[in-house]
């Protein structure tokens, strides 16, 4: 039982690393993606093949996976980030689908639809969560430095970002590469944790989940992404429904509608969760309650 929940926590950690990558791109830079599971797939298969074919040690192999994912990102970024319009989104969609098709259609290397098995299992809960914590710290630092602020400026108002000297194309590329690196790493960790890979682990539905978790958590909030991820990623496990995976998309759809209706900026908006912020909120809420109470009393009197 314990090992079952450790497994859930480990997978949650892995997907959270990928979601944080998407958060930088979608939430902080304002570039929409519909295909980041593709970058996870590249990272996962890159890592697995580097172990199995090149006989690299696992952590060197993960580096190969990360670099492969970043290379794919650099290619679509170079081709589309300079252009106005939705070319970039379409390119992410394409990379997601093409990666999956490619994996399915070269079975001699990737095992095709039947999957790739016997990958040495070299990760565990502690490794994943240690990496996760380091990633969160680094991203927090990134966002409070020059380059991260540039990303937010691009999201907020691209022309104004240019007018204060930000090279917006470069900034978008950097953001894309960070998201690819993190998704690639999450893919590599997934390979090293599961010990096997199937192309259906990296469907478009998975891509949508990554992006939707970011939006539900609040675009532009790292803590929002983390909170949303901690709740949503392991959700099918809590619910313990046989067909939870299939219902997951329905649930995400419903959640998105609820959020759009009641809180269009997502759970946290673009604010970060802090204890002092929470206390301030509570204080405000209580004082409002009290005022309402007094008003009620006054009316009675």
């Amino acid at each position: 039982m314990l090992s079952y929940w450790t497994g859930v926590a480990t997978l949650t950690g892995i997907y959270l690393i990928a979601t944080l990558g998407v958060s930088i791109l979608v939430g902080f830079t304002g570039l929409f993606s519909l295909g980041h599971a593709g970058f996870m797939a590249i990272g996962a298969y890159g890592t697995a093949l580097a172990v199995k074919m090149l006989h690299l040690p696992f952590y060197a192999a993960i580096l190969v996976g990360i670099l492969a994912s970043m290379l794919a990102g650099a290619l679509i970024g170079k081709a589309t980030l300079r252009l106005k319009g939705d070319y970039f989104v379409i390119a992410t969609l394409a990379i997601g689908e093409c990666t999956k098709l490619l994996i399915e259609n070269i079975p001699s290397i990737t095992g095709g639809a039947r999957g790739l098995a016997d990958i040495p299992r070299k990760t565990n809960f502690f490794v994943v969560w240690t990496i996760l914590v380091i990633v969160v710290v680094l991203l927090h630092r990134f966002l409070n430095a020059k380059h991260g602020r540039g990303c937010v400026a691009v999201r907020e108002e691209e022309l104004a970002a240019k007018s204060i000297g930000i090279d917006t194309t470069r900034t978008k590329m950097l953001s894309l590469l960070i998201s690819c690196a993190l998704c690639g790493m999450a893919g590599g960790l997934l390979a090293g944790y599961m010990g096997y890979l199937y192309p259906i682990m990296f469907t478009m539905a998975k891509s949508n989940e990554l992006t939707m978790t970011v939006i539900l958590g609040g675009a532009g909030s790292l803590t929002g992404t983390i909170l949303a991820g901690l709740v949503l990623i392991p959700l099918p496990e809590y619910l313990r429904i046989e067909s939870a995976e299939e219902w997951r998309m329905v649930l995400y759809g419903v959640l998105v509608v609820i959020v759009v209706v009641f809180k269009p900026s997502g759970l946290m908006g673009n604010k970060e969760f802090t204890v002092s912020g929470l206390l301030r909120r509570l204080k405000k809420w209580f004082s409002k309650e009290k005022r309402n109470g007094e008003k009620g009393a006054g009316e009675r009197g």
Binding site: L138, R141, F142, N144, A145, K146, H147, G148, R149, G150, V152, A153, E156, E157, L159, A160, K162, S163, I164, G165, I166, D167, T168, L174, G220, N270
Partner: protein, 256 residues
């Protein structure tokens, strides 16, 4: 601190398809002056700003900042050469606080690398401290310090204009372009704005090129004025000269 720049506009032409937005325009903006740019709607004033800031490329002609050509420069390159601007329809980082708007605009002063940011090296800390001081100083000078926590997009119109100007100023510009800063303001507000712009010029070594339709603002703060009409240069001179210029009076009366 940088010093005020000169700008020369030389035989500048810009066409959008069949529309000639600017037609063979030539004039000079001298270092340190406040230079007004007026003319009826559609005269090509904003187009000139967009050409100076690299948003558009000229069809013909040249633009020079301190003698160095601006043609072919990207927007961010023009900004890094010392040109800052505001927009006719305000473009703030709306969901960020006033403070964040300014600190974001300080990126030109930061030379540390991505890695310095990740590792929070001494260089990172030193430069971040400097821009925090610069932001604080600027906000205090401009009287926005008390509003620093406010979300920029939620401020009243007049304050948003000030934030946009403050954001341009922290980039330490040599040439500041203001596109209709008084638009939508009442008489009292325009009076304050005039004072504000003059105080900028006293506090910062910067050349200012300002577009506006409020003649009280333009006439009271500008050293010299250039008048456009249908993409061409109509007149040039001091406020007194422009006020008595026959062609200008006709263009303005004729257009009304």
């Amino acid at each position: 601190m940088s010093c005020a720049a000169s700008l020369s506009v030389e035989h500048l032409t810009k066409q959008f398809g069949g529309v000639v937005a600017l037609n063979d325009v030539t004039f000079e903006v001298k270092p340190g002056e406040i230079h007004g740019l007026i003319g009826p709607n559609g005269a090509g004033k904003t187009t000139l700003f967009n050409l100076i800031t690299g948003i558009y490329r000229p069809t013909e002609g040249d633009l020079k900042l301190n003698g160095q050509s601006l043609v072919g420069k990207e927007s961010h390159e023009a900004a890094n050469m010392g040109i800052a601007r505001t927009f006719q329809n305000i473009r703030l980082f709306g969901e960020l606080s006033v403070y964040q708007n300014l600190i974001t605009a300080c990126q030109k002063h930061l030379s540390y690398s991505l890695l310095d940011g990740f590792l929070r090296t001494a260089k990172y800390r030193q430069q971040e401290r400097e821009i925090a001081e610069l932001t604080e100083r600027t906000l205090k000078q401009i009287g926005l310090w008390d509003l620093r926590e406010q979300m920029a997009g939620n401020l009243p119109y007049g304050q948003q204009r000030r934030v946009e100007i403050a954001r341009a100023l922290v980039t330490d510009p040599q040439l500041l372009l203001l596109d209709e800063p008084a638009a939508g303001m009442n008489e009292e507000e325009t009076g304050k704005l005039s004072e504000f712009i003059r105080s900028i010029q006293e506090q910062y070594p910067v050349t200012i090129l300002i577009i506006d339709h409020h003649m009280d603002v333009i006439m009271s703060i500008c050293d010299r004025i250039t008048v456009f009409n249908f993409g061409s240069l109509l007149a040039e001179g001091t406020p007194e000269e422009i006020q008595t210029n026959e062609a200008v009076i006709e263009a303005y009366l004729g257009s009304e």
